[in-house]
């Protein structure tokens, strides 16, 4: 099970190959993944603050997430796993691209971080009965073939009382213009073909899928580009393009 992931029905082969080809570039802050590096601070602040709220942690403490288990589904090169590990969490990262997992593993080792990376799908871990305090599901659902089945697998990985975070792109004309025409063709922030607009997810669709998976959406927040800082910022009411969601699993702590 460690390295032999069973290809499950929710993972699309063409999509996996695309990201494995880009794996080498993950950690270059000015390379192809520059937008993700720029997006990281605002996403991490959101994750850290919501996790601290839920589990009663002080964000100014040393290693505020110590003792919590975090799973990053579709971890890529480990851009979220490494900061989460530095904040003290015990982190597992899974990805359906074997190249990504290798890159992430090598990078964490070079940075002196201990992270459990696996070439696996969410279904593999849920079949093994694993659960986590926090499951991160960032920029993944717009790439999966069967969203409901995938979210059911992910929800099973959240322990009762735990949280799942999601980030995706809304299926609006504005998202088509900004995320595909703008980011892939005009600004070339992302390689062409990174996204398929028909797979973008409306917040209402996400809420319904989560409900069917036994989770309750508790918050939605938009993220918009902030030109003066060449960075991104939270925009609680602008869900038109990039947005994040928090979902809670009912039950005991």
């Amino acid at each position: 099970m460690e390295n032999e992931a069973t290809r499950d029905r929710t993972v699309d082969d063409g999509e996996i190959a695309k990201f494995a080809a880009m794996a080498e570039e993950w950690w270059d802050p000015d390379g192809k993944f520059r937008p993700l590096h720029r997006l990281n601070p605002v996403r991490l602040e959101f994750l850290r603050d919501r996790i601290a709220d839920r589990f009663g942690r002080d964000t100014r403490a040393d290693r505020p997430l110590a003792g919590l288990t975090v799973l990053d589904v579709g971890c890529g090169g480990g851009l979220l796993c490494e900061p989460m590990a530095r904040l003290g969490a015990a982190v597992t990262g899974i990805d359906a691209g074997a190249g990504n997992v290798e890159i992430a593993r090598a990078h964490a080792e070079a940075m002196g971080l201990s992270i459990d990376y696996r070439f696996a799908a969410a279904a593999d871990l849920s079949a093994a009965g694993r659960t986590f305090d926090v499951v991160l599901n960032m920029e993944v659902i717009e790439h999966v073939a069967d969203r409901d089945a995938f979210l059911c697998d992910c929800a099973r990985l959240v322990r009762p009382g735990g949280l799942m975070f999601l980030a995706t792109l809304n299926r609006t004309p504005k998202a088509y213009l900004l995320a595909i025409v703008g980011a892939e063709y005009v600004l070339r922030w992302l390689p062409r073909g990174t996204h398929a607009w028909r797979r973008f997810v409306r917040p209402s669709e996400m809420a319904a899928s989560l409900r069917r998976a036994g989770m309750t959406m508790t918050e939605l927040a938009g993220i918009v580009y902030d030109p003066p800082k060449d960075g991104w910022k939270l925009a609680p009411h602008d869900l038109d393009v990039n947005y994040m969601a928090v979902a809670a699993k009912p039950g005991q702590d």
């Binding site: 000015d30 601070p41 602040e45 850290r48 989460m84 530095r86 904040l87 940075m111 960075g231």
Partner: protein, 417 residues
């Protein structure tokens, strides 16, 4: 704070390694360690040597904004007993033979609020306070005396190798090693380095009458002559003179030197006497072509040294510290790499404009005032008087002197990190 005695070569790890434990480097170290970032400071000199009276005879103007930052870090209570507030700044054109021009510019702090413009503090007191504050921080390791022999940086980490064979591994290296920064040179960062044909003569005088917090800057043909109010009825004199004439003044006996001082000083403070040795410093302006490189940031004089005409050199360095400390601490609390673009790119962009502006303004002021050309003299006298009659321009210049213009770091706004 941990300090090394005669320890065997050691491999140490820190989040940030600071090369240079002077005023700027130590302030940054205190700000970071106080907010939970592990810091190692490497300095060539023994810590106690820097606080000795003979090491540095200068005093620094701590602008209002810098005092705010020092309050935010927690160092200010140690400095306050040694800080003399500046309530009033008087700027005038003068000539040693003709006396002070009647047209002068008068800045009164009450025009912009209740706080003084800033404070004059002797550098040795600043160094001693930083040392005492650092001693109470568990996340701060001071390696001194220690010599850096090699610095290697790659996409994963930086490593500083020391002459004793020890190493310090860190995510980010900060060069705070002054205007002749070896780290800057080693990193291949070029710098524009201009020498003024001027030397700064610095000494401290005790005077008969109280200065009442008035700082005076006279524009004399050889360069600006400043009298900065200190504690205990003393003034720090910063006398900028033509480099070819300065050695003769420095070689004078105490009585003859005091006579030269009196001719410039005037008699408004009554009788004066020297309280210590005279120091001299060559003047120049330096500006690094970049403030950052792979896993490296430059702060203070290593990035920029400006003319002391406006008393802004240390303040500029402390504003670097306030900005860089905020970016590193925010990044640390998100678990991000201290050398990521969210720190280094933003630092460079944030600081560059402020620094270029002050470099140009101080250089221009010095060129305008350090001469004795008749028409120019009249023009600048009228200019000073003109500024005096334009309250909005005057308020802007005063707020600039206080350091409260622009997009301010949290520390400068008086908030904690």
């Amino acid at each position: 704070m941990a300090q090394n005695g005669a320890l065997p070569p050691e491999t140490r790890a820190a989040d940030v390694a600071i090369v240079g434990g002077g005023m700027v480097g130590m302030t940054l170290a205190c700000a970071l360690a106080g907010a939970g970032v592990r810091v190692a400071v490497i300095d060539r000199e023994r810590a106690a040597a820097q606080a000795a009276p003979a090491y540095d005879g200068r005093a620094s103007a701590i602008a209002h904004a810098s005092a705010q930052a020092l309050k935010g870090i927690g160092i200010w209570p140690l400095l306050e007993p040694h800080a003399s507030p500046i309530a009033d700044i008087r700027v005038a054109d003068g000539h040693p033979m003709r006396g002070v021009s009647p047209l002068f510019l008068h800045y009164d702090h009450r025009d912009v609020g209740a706080a003084p413009f800033g404070y004059i503090v002797e550098n040795r007191h600043i160094r001693a306070a930083l040392g005492a504050f650092a001693a109470g921080l568990s996340g701060l390791t001071l390696l001194a005396p220690a010599e850096v022999t090699e610095l290697s940086r790659d996409s994963h980490r930086a490593e500083v190798r020391l002459a004793d064979g020890g190493t310090v591994g860190a995510g980010l290296v900060v060069a705070a090693d002054g205007r002749f920064s070896r780290v800057r040179k080693q990193a291949g960062i070029a710098a524009t380095d201009l020498r003024y044909r001027q030397t700064s003569i610095v000494c401290t005088v005790r005077h008969e009458r109280a200065h009442n917090g008035v700082a005076v800057e006279l524009f004399l043909p050889g360069g600006p002559f400043a009298m900065l109010p200190m504690t205990e009825d003393r003034c720090n004199v910063v006398w900028t003179e033509r480099a070819d004439l300065a050695p003769a003044y420095l070689a004078l006996g105490d009585d003859a030197f005091l006579d030269e001082l009196r001719r410039r000083f005037g008699d408004w403070l009554g009788a004066i006497e020297l309280t210590g040795p005279r120091f001299s410093y060559p003047l120049g302006v330096l500006h690094a072509e970049r403030y950052t490189d792979l896993r490296l940031a430059l702060v203070g004089d290593a990035a920029h040294a400006i003319h002391p005409i406006a008393g802004q050199g240390l303040n500029l360095g402390l504003r670097d510290v306030a900005a860089l400390a905020e970016l590193i601490v925010d990044s640390h609390r998100l678990g991000l790499d201290p050398a990521g673009p969210q720190v280094l790119e933003r630092y460079a962009r944030w600081r560059r404009f402020d620094t270029m502006l002050l470099t140009a303004v101080t250089d221009g002021l010095n060129r305008l005032f350090s001469n004795d050309i008749g028409p120019l003299r009249l023009a600048r006298d009228l200019g000073l008087a003109g500024v005096n009659r334009l309250p909005p321009l005057k308020r802007f210049l005063m707020r600039h002197a206080m350091g409260t213009v622009g997009d301010l770091p949290r520390l400068v706004r008086g908030e904690a990190l």
